[in-house]
Each structure stands twice: as structure tokens, then as C-alpha cells.
Subunit: 169 residues, 2 copies
DNA sequence: TTGGAAAGTCAACAAGGCTGACGTAAATAG
DNA sequence: CTATTTACGTCAGCCTTGTTGACTTTCCAA
């Protein structure tokens, strides 16, 4: 039924979306995501960490001082899951957890200098691949890439994503 | 060092790749991938399956009759890991494993009618989101999206990816 | 002031990765 | 024809990272 449906989005676009083409997009996501995580994975493995640690480090770096609950919402896991990861990062001296001044139930999360160093190592590796891909594809492609990804996000995360500064075009 | 590096890719491109912008791309991948898997995940959960089952089903559908070893290479997991998943799919009557006619050591994998049905259910859900994202972003964006993803893949998988038919523009 | 809600921690379990070892049948090299 | 290699399946056991349930500590509102 969806075979070869011409876009009905207002007329002038020439989008011709066959199921085959959509499948290609789906597989592209799958394979690209593998490439996307490959470099950090190697660095993490050497330290005995996994992707969960990477995600925690990334978002703590992104918004230092945020509480555990906030981070929980961004990562979309249970607090028990996050806690395990956080525990090892704190024990290893990469993350610091400070009791809230106003509300003492809260824990505010920060990267230590060692944590910052690992963060840089990881994001450098990931940026290298991203930069190479961008350069290969050209600026037009990059804009399109970002647009499609944004449209694929769930609305809540899209809002969170958009709320973060961009650095100017 | 990588701060605000202007693209040095030949001159005329106006790519201005700050670390901030690259980070945005990285987070876009992370959040979009979550959205990308959300719909199938719900369908799978109702059946007691996980993403591993989805991947197996997807690639068996994509290339019916392929052997276990071939599938192993595409999925990038160990034989034991794949076997666990394949076992349950075969036992549940979604996948059929036929002994090779020429080489009887090989097992060729096919979806049964029931397997095809689940495949369609899963890919319909995923295509719906993909189609909506494409429509939102427009045809130019779609081309760029695919280009960047392709450039991010590891070379082996890129070749495999490109070797599959596209269905025309 | 007390009772509920919220934040965080601990315990235990499941899915799905991994390695290593082993068995069997079929193909192939010598 | 024999010996090796290949393709596949399976057992055992480990790790990461997800889950739910139960438990403090702290805050706040009735």
C-alpha cells in the first residue's frame, strides 16, 4: 500500500519515497550509528567502561551541575541504571557529586579534571569522524542531515536538543 | 586546537565547523537514534523480543536465503549471540533454516509467512517515522542526510550498504 | 508535627553482548 | 583415502546495562 507513494505534502516537492528508499534510510541509520560509536568504544574499552559511561560523561560535561534526576530524563534510563554507572565514575575520580545547597536531597554532578580529560579524548575521536563525514558530504548535506535527524526525535528530546546553544553558523 | 577550525577541504566550502556544532551533530545522532528505535521497540516488547531479533529479521528479509555466516558479518556479533536469537525465532516459527543444497554445511535463512508479517509491522512503524521526518525536512535534506550517514560508516559496511539496490531516485 | 512525595541507594534479575571449548558433518587438500 | 579445514550448533560462564522492588534521607505542605 505504501509502495511508491508520491509525497502528498503540498505539491511541489519531488519526494518520491518508495519503501525501498525508506529502507535504505533505515539501514543507513543502523550502519552509521555503528560507525559513530566505534571510535569512542575503543577508548572506553581500554578503561573498562561502556557506552553508558560515555553518555553520562557527555551530558555532565554539557550541563555541569545538573542533578541526577535531570540527567535521568535526558538519558532515558532508570535511576538505578544510571546510579551504577555514576558510582564507578565517582569512585574512579572522574565525576564529583555535590550535595545541593538549597535542597540537600539533590546531588549536583560535575566532571573532575580527570573526567574532563576523558571527555575530551572521547569527543575528539567522535568529532574527527563527524568532521570527516561533513567534509565529504558538503555543507548542504550537513544542513539536511541535521534537519532529518531533528525531525526523527521524540518531541520532548527535540525541545531539549534545540534548547542547547549551537555556536552560530 | 580544534576550536573553530575553518574547513580546509579545498577552499570554496563555507563549512565553519566549531566544536560546538560538531557536538550538536553528535547529540543529534544520539537523540535521533532513540526516536528511530522507539516504535519498533514497542512492538517487539509485546512479543517478548528485543532489538537483536529485529536486526536479524530485518536482514533476513533484506537478503533471503543468506547463510548464517553472512548474517554474522553484517550484524557484527558473535555466533553464540546470534544463535540465541535465531533459535527463538526458529522455534517460534518466524524464521526457517534450510540446509544448503550444494554445500550441506550451510544453513540458509528465510522468513516464514509469520516472520514476514512481523517484519512488515516493524518496518511500517519505522518507515512511518522516517517518512514523516523526510517530509518535514524536504528532498534536499534527505539527500544530505544519506550522504553524511554514508560517510560515517566503516568502509566495509559502506560497501555492503552501497551494494544493495536503491529503487531509483 | 506528621505524613506523603521526591531524591538517591542497594539488591536481585533479565537481555544480550562476549570468550573459550567442544562436537559434528561436509568439503577439500594432499 | 586420509587429514585438515570450514560451517554450524551448543554448553558454560562472564560482563554491561537495562529492569523492578524495597529502603533511607530529606523536604514540604496540611
Amino acid at each position: 500500500m505504501t509502495q511508491g507513494a508520491r509525497a502528498r505534502d503540498g505539491g511541489e516537492s519531488l519526494l518520491f519515497l518508495t519503501d525501498e528508499q525508506l529502507r535504505k534510510g533505515i539501514e543507513a541509520m543502523f550502519f552509521a550509528y555503528r560507525g559513530f560509536t566505534a571510535d569512542p568504544d575503543r577508548i572506553l574499552e581500554a578503561r573498562g567502561y561502556g557506552r553508558a559511561h560515555h553518555r553520562a560523561i557527555h551530558f555532565i560535561h554539557r550541563a555541569p551541575g545538573q542533578t541526577v534526576t535531570t540527567l535521568l530524563g535526558v538519558l532515558g534510563v532508570t535511576k538505578q541504571s544510571l546510579n551504577r554507572v555514576l558510582r564507578s565514575l565517582i569512585d574512579d575520580g572522574l565525576v564529583e557529586s555535590r550535595v545541593g545547597r538549597k535542597d540537600k536531597r539533590e546531588r549536583h554532578l560535575f566532571l573532575t579534571p580527570a573526567g574532563d580529560e576523558l571527555e575530551r579524548e572521547l569527543s575528539d575521536a567522535q568529532r574527527r569522524r563527524m568532521r570527516a563525514a561533513y567534509r565529504n558530504a558538503g555543507p548542504q548535506a550537513v544542513a539536511g542531515f541535521r534537519q532529518v535527524l531533528e525531525a526523527m526525535m521524540d518531541p520532548d528530546l527535540r525541545r531539549y536538543y534545540q534548547s542547547m546553544k549551537d555556536g552560530g553558523s
